[in-house]
């Protein structure tokens, strides 16, 4: 029988939640790396027992750990994330130029074909790659050349927080940066172009044709149709049907189009999920009701999914990497909150129940579907 393994990164450690295919009875292990901020934990799709975890503290900086037995034991691997050459400067909050400074790894994306290869998204924004299982990391410096002097940190920092690998074209990589936008490489990361046409950020970017500077929160795709992208932007939910060449808004009838994660159903490429948040200054659900919104039409028409979720006095947030889907039937959907709950739905979102309620603030949720 299939199993699922949910990898949870929190402000104070990582947790691993496991269940059989029914997804009703859960075992919780952790905290792994107790006390460390775990921005992201993700397993290799080629070898699910190989898992990478990005850990960080303000005291001791960035570490990267790797497990080769499904999270039972871990080994510290390489933590040297060195910008190639002179990294230069980017725009600072006050409009002046500010030097690039490494702070942390937000996201680790294992290769779809090789367990020793993985990508890491950094703050200050950069993309790194390992081909030796995380022991050494090399930057793709050409990314910073794409108008990097105009990139500016969002409130959370100037980070590569999303890395999406095209399953049909191994040379194609999408990344997203707050607050610079989406960038695409068609040659394995050697060169990059901004793909932000159609995004509108009138308050921050009066120029409607601005190629960079957009505060993209998350992008996602369905593996069967990688040219179709969905995006949760700072404000607006967007879609692109041409690999990011142009974007159209699909916020439709959402109660708020601000939010962080966006996810695509494992078996229905036009079914997507977002979690509306009231605003950029009030990071909690509208009307204090925690609602996942699902569109079965690729956007514009949305339904609230509320069964099992708190519908009063709820003031948690769901961060950009804190939502994932499994590939069982029916599709399981999972998300974690800044209040420490991890909710799961084994019915594509129709009903929800908490796996755990009292973890530290959840930064990331990933799911592995195991044989």
């Amino acid at each position: 029988m299939s199993r699922v393994r949910v990898l949870v990164g929190t402000r104070k450690g990582a947790f691993i939640l496991t269940a059989d295919g029914q997804r009703e009875q859960w075992e919780v292990s952790g905290p792994h790396f107790a006390g460390w901020e775990i921005y992201h934990v993700k397993g290799s799709p080629v070898n699910p027992d190989r898992i990478y975890a990005s850990q960080n503290t303000g005291w001791f900086g960035q570490m990267m750990e790797r497990s080769d037995d499904g999270g039972k034991t871990w080994e510290a691997v390489g933590n040297e994330f060195k910008y190639e050459g002179v990294p230069g400067t980017h725009k600072w909050y006050d409009g002046t130029q500010h030097p690039w400074e490494f702070k942390r790894i937000w996201h680790v994306e294992p290769s779809l074909t090789d367990p020793d290869t993985a990508y890491a998204g950094a703050e200050d924004a950069a993309l790194f790659k390992t081909v030796d299982g995380g022991r050494t990391w090399q930057e793709f410096p050409s990314l910073r050349n794409v108008k990097g002097d105009l990139w500016q940190p969002g409130a959370g920092g100037m980070c590569v927080h999303t890395i999406v690998l095209d399953p049909k074209n191994t040379d194609r990589i999408f990344i997203a940066i707050s607050a610079a936008g989406v960038f695409r490489s068609d040659d394995g990361g050697q060169t990059w172009k901004p793909v932000n046409q159609g995004l509108k950020s009138p308050w921050e970017l009066p120029d409607p044709d601005a190629q960079v500077g957009h505060c993209v929160h998350r992008i996602g795709l369905h593996p069967s149709r990688p040219e179709v992208l969905f995006m949760q932007k700072h404000w607006d939910v967007m879609r692109s049907d041409n690999a990011g060449e142009s974007w159209t808004e699909v916020s439709g009838d959402l109660p708020s189009d601000f939010g962080f994660p966006v996810q695509v159903h494992a078996h229905e490429p036009e079914t997507i999920y977002v979690v509306p948040i009231k605003s950029d200054s009030e990071h909690f659900p509208p009307d204090a009701k925690l609602r996942v919104y699902r569109s079965r039409t690729g956007g514009n028409e949305w339904e609230a999914l509320t069964k099992g979720l708190p519908q009063k006095d709820c003031y948690v947030n769901v961060l950009r990497d804190a939502m994932a889907v499994d590939s069982l039937e029916p599709c399981g959907v999972y998300f974690g909150t800044t209040g420490g709950q991890v909710y799961a739905s084994a019915q594509s979102g129709d009903t929800w129940s908490p796996i755990v309620r009292d973890l530290p603030a959840v930064l990331s949720v990933e799911v592995q579907t195991l044989p």
Binding site: A34, F60, E80
Partner: protein, 98 residues
């Protein structure tokens, strides 16, 4: 033999429960102890001081024999009691973060 006490997070990182013990070839200075520590535990490179500049990370402190050595030069010779193994060299995470 130099005894080094690591903070909790770094003990967990190097999988050590108690003190770390180092053998130095030359003079026992602040810098040479950190060099030896990073030699024996490469995962600590970058965690205590910057990899390139070797500057102490902002929220890391060094103590020995009730003295704060955090702002001392890397060439500072450690107290005799530390060199003789009677007292540990302490690496401490600063009180920070509220």
């Amino acid at each position: 033999m130099i005894r080094v006490t690591l903070p909790y997070h770094l003990r967990a990182l190097v999988r050590v429960d108690g003190e770390v013990r180092l053998t130095l070839d030359g003079r026992a200075t602040l810098g040479s102890v950190l060099d030896a520590l990073e030699q024996d535990y490469p995962v600590l490179r970058g965690a205590i001081r910057d990899r390139l500049t070797l500057q102490r990370r902002p929220f890391v402190r060094f103590y020995a024999c009730r003295e704060d050595l955090s702002h001392e030069s890397p060439d500072t010779v450690l107290p005799a009691a530390v060199i003789e193994g009677l007292e540990p060299f302490l690496i401490v995470g600063a009180m920070a973060g509220g």
